[in-house]
């Protein structure tokens, strides 16, 4: 991939590469650094930001947490827990427990939705006279 630089054994990525890899804008990446969701990103001699694999791992964590609608402040606390679980404050540990419960609930809801969709697909493929998915949607409209 263009723009990827090697430093010793680790790979370094320019902001444009990270942006493409993770689907986050360059402005968002700079903002995360500004509010300390990311540590100070190392720079090249020309002042270009160079992101390491650990930065990318951290960014993926942030992105996943955002899909769960966690706030940036909450994500910041979870990142502290991620860095040093043994020494995290009680409030951060409690927040992590609460968020774990939310993720488990989301998984259960998704599993139910998956089964519902699977049943509808099975009904569609097993039917000669029509598709219950479409019938169901029509029924809801009327």
């Amino acid at each position: 991939m263009a723009g990827i630089m090697k430093s010793n054994s680790s790979t370094l990525y320019r902001i444009s590469d990270v942006s493409k890899l993770l689907g986050l804008s360059a402005d968002t990446l700079r903002y995360y650094e500004k509010i300390s969701l990311l540590p100070k990103i190392q720079r090249s001699t020309g002042g270009i930001r160079l992101y390491g694999d650990s930065d990318l791992s951290r960014l993926r964590f942030i992105r996943r947490a955002q899909t769960m609608n966690f706030t940036l402040a909450e994500i910041g606390d979870l990142l502290k827990m991620r860095e040093d679980p043994q020494h995290a404050r009680d409030s951060v540990r409690e927040l992590t427990r609460i968020k774990l419960a939310a993720v488990k609930q989301q998984l259960a809801d998704l599993d139910t939705l998956r089964k519902e969709l699977q049943l509808l697909v099975n009904l569609c493929t097993g039917s000669k006279d029509g598709c219950p998915i479409i019938d169901g949607i029509d029924g809801e409209k009327s």
């Binding site: 139910t112 089964k115 519902e116 699977q118 049943l119 509808l120 099975n122 009904l123 097993g126 039917s127 000669k128 006279d129 029509g130 598709c131 219950p132 998915i133 019938d135 169901g136 029924g139």
Partner: protein, 89 residues
């Protein structure tokens, strides 16, 4: 307590009519005071169907438990209903 039978059907399900016909006949034969049945449209009660583990129609649940997937023979259904009645005594 009567045995509660649910027949899960869906629009366009070819064997669901036969399943309902067999259930109706057996309930009449074995006594509608001891057996109760209803038809459940899986599209209308999708969450309930999923909760019972139904993946296709027809399916038959007895006392809230999925017993048959597909269309059972009348003989098998009769035997199962007899078993349920004896268990409930």
């Amino acid at each position: 307590m009567p045995v509660n039978i649910e027949v899960f059907s869906a629009p366009g399900c070819n064997s669901c009519g036969q399943a309902k016909k067999v259930i109706r006949k057996l309930v009449e034969q074995m006594g509608d005071d001891r057996l109760q049945w209803r038809e459940v449209n899986v599209v209308a009660e999708l969450d309930y169907a999923v909760e019972l583990g139904i993946l296709s129609t027809p399916a038959i649940a007895i006392n809230g438990e999925l017993i048959f997937t597909g269309l059972p023979s009348e003989k098998k259904l009769h035997a199962e209903l007899l078993k349920q009645l004896e268990t409930g005594l």
